[in-house]
Amino acid sequence: MSTEIGKNKISRAVLYLVLIVLTFIFVFPVIWIIGSSFKDTGELFAWPPTLFGNHPTFDNYVTAFSQGDFSIYFFNTVFTSVVATILTIIINVMAGYVFAKYRFKGSKVLFGITLATLMVPLEVIMVPIFKVIVATNLYNSLWGLIIPAAASPTAVFLVRQYYIGIPDAYMEAARIDGASEFMIFNRIMLPLAKPVISVLCIFSFMWRWNDFLWPKLVINNENLYTIQLALANFSGEFNVDWTSLLSMSAISMIPVIIVFVALQKYIIGGMTIGGVKE
């Protein structure tokens, strides 16, 4: 018996050791990047390397905001992410609600169409959608990032699932009291959807904040770059300016860190939304 306990102890120790090594592999690269963003050019490539440099400085951040166009990219990204998230929530909650609570001619077909959109990811329509973007005057406009990607099948499903779980009795009662259909939605059913709306908000915001392919297709004018597009394009230059790239990357991770800390318990609870991460 005692040997079994001993064996068990060893295997637990090995398990913890493996977990600690893995944690290092998953976390260290990000810490290294953030640490390096406080080094000046000389220290960035100094050997032996140190985590934060011998003289940590905010200079890279100050330069990024004052000299470069980083504040413009930052504004573009905030604007796009916030407006797109609001629009995404509004139209997809409307659609998901109707699919859950109404029976109407063509509802099955329309829901099937919504499902079918999953088969046509942006990667598959890059070339023709470019022509549509140009024709609708959305090329080189932040609205070109906001509007086309606002309708999301995943969001519609999620909202629909949520509303299926809410009894129709609320609606029936309101109808008897003479409420209009829109009033029922706006006053009763919409406030009930707060949990699913907050989940969608977070994922939609993160997706827009981190998105690369839409900006790559729609934006060519440097004054309209989002942070991700700027990072991607500047990293492709012959002489990569690592100091500004690192500070820009670190800043763009701030909302992600906030969301992550705030959401931890949901993540730990096993929350995922398939397909929302693009």
């Binding site: 390096s36 509004i90 022509k131 309708a151 995943t154 259909e181 904040w209 981190n210 690592w242 939304i273």
Partner: protein, 291 residues
């Protein structure tokens, strides 16, 4: 008899979503299908060429290279993602102290943008300035050409893909593992079975639905890889990490061969459509949540 308002209301509510789907999804999809049978530079009138684009495709060594790269990359990284996310989940469901901390640590990279993931590893693996090569050389080893040697570069792209995605599927596996009833394990313990026996005869069979779903979801995501290589290797060295989406993007927008790019897209579409249909069957057509 339903009121007029009640009959018209659903359509009004669906209108914005359906207009966007129509204008920015179905119309371009149909238009793209048509373009693929034409020669078109995007400016001058289209010229119908029948199947010429498709026949040219299968003799185009550049396209075939990107197709081959995509397949190699997918075939190697999908099992990597599957095994590592399952392994992480298995470790974390064994009543570990600080399991919430570990779970958060492994999940964290999935929230970072793909571009930044690429930059992070490009900085870590820089040939003569990266910390990884510093550690190797300071131990007396030879600096590795992580991003300029074709084999190493493909390996790096696969590793980074796994690094950035394992945590996401880990969460799905944790949910799957937690839904397996404890009684199976207790019963098998009484029969004296080992951890591996339990894994083979209880965990794996009962986890089959989750495994299949992760397989399909990760394949669909991995096949579309583009931003990561854009930031990490730019598709190099010598096109060895250029995948299909990048090839389509370059053909369509840098070489202005829209028709030809659309033909490439059709190949990608067929592969993805088959996988997505598989996914529908597994989730019973969206009736069940994708997770």
């Amino acid at each position: 008899m339903k009121s007029f308002e009640r009959r018209i209301f659903p359509y009004l509510m669906l209108l914005p979503t359906l207009v966007i789907f129509g204008l920015f999804l179905f119309y371009p999809a149909a238009f793209g299908f048509w373009i693929s049978f034409n020669k078109w530079d995007g400016l001058n009138p289209m010229k119908f060429v029948g199947l010429d684009n498709f026949t040219a495709l299968f003799q185009d060594s550049d396209f075939l290279l990107s197709f081959r790269n995509t397949m190699i990359f997918t075939v190697l990284s999908v099992p990597g993602i599957l095994i590592s996310s399952l392994a992480l989940a298995l470790m974390l469901t064994r009543r570990v102290h600080f399991s919430n901390f570990f779970r958060a640590a492994f999940y964290w990279p999935t929230m970072i943008s793909t571009i930044i993931v690429g930059l992070i590893w490009r900085f870590m693996l820089g040939e003569d300035f990266g910390i990884v090569n510093y550690v190797i050389t300071s131990r007396g080893g030879q600096a590795v050409k992580w991003l300029t040697n074709p084999t190493a570069a493909m390996g790096v792209v696969i590793f980074v893909t796994i690094w950035s995605m394992a945590g996401y599927y880990m969460v799905m596996f944790v949910a799957g593992l937690n839904s397996i009833s404890e009684t199976y394990y207790e019963a098998s313990k009484i029969d004296g079975s080992s951890f591996w026996q339990q894994f083979w005869y209880i965990t794996l069979p009962l986890l089959k639905p989750t495994i299949l779903l992760v397989l399909v979801l990760s394949t669909v995501t991995v096949i579309k890889t583009y931003p990561l290589v854009y930031a990490l290797t730019q598709g190099g060295p010598a096109g060895e990490t250029t995948f299909m989406v990048q090839k389509i993007q370059e053909t369509g927008f840098e070489e202005n061969q829209m028709g030809y790019a659309c033909a490439m897209t059709a190949v990608l579409f067929v592969v993805l459509a088959v996988l997505t249909l598989l996914q529908f069957r597994m989730t019973r057509g969206g009736e069940q949540d994708v997770d």
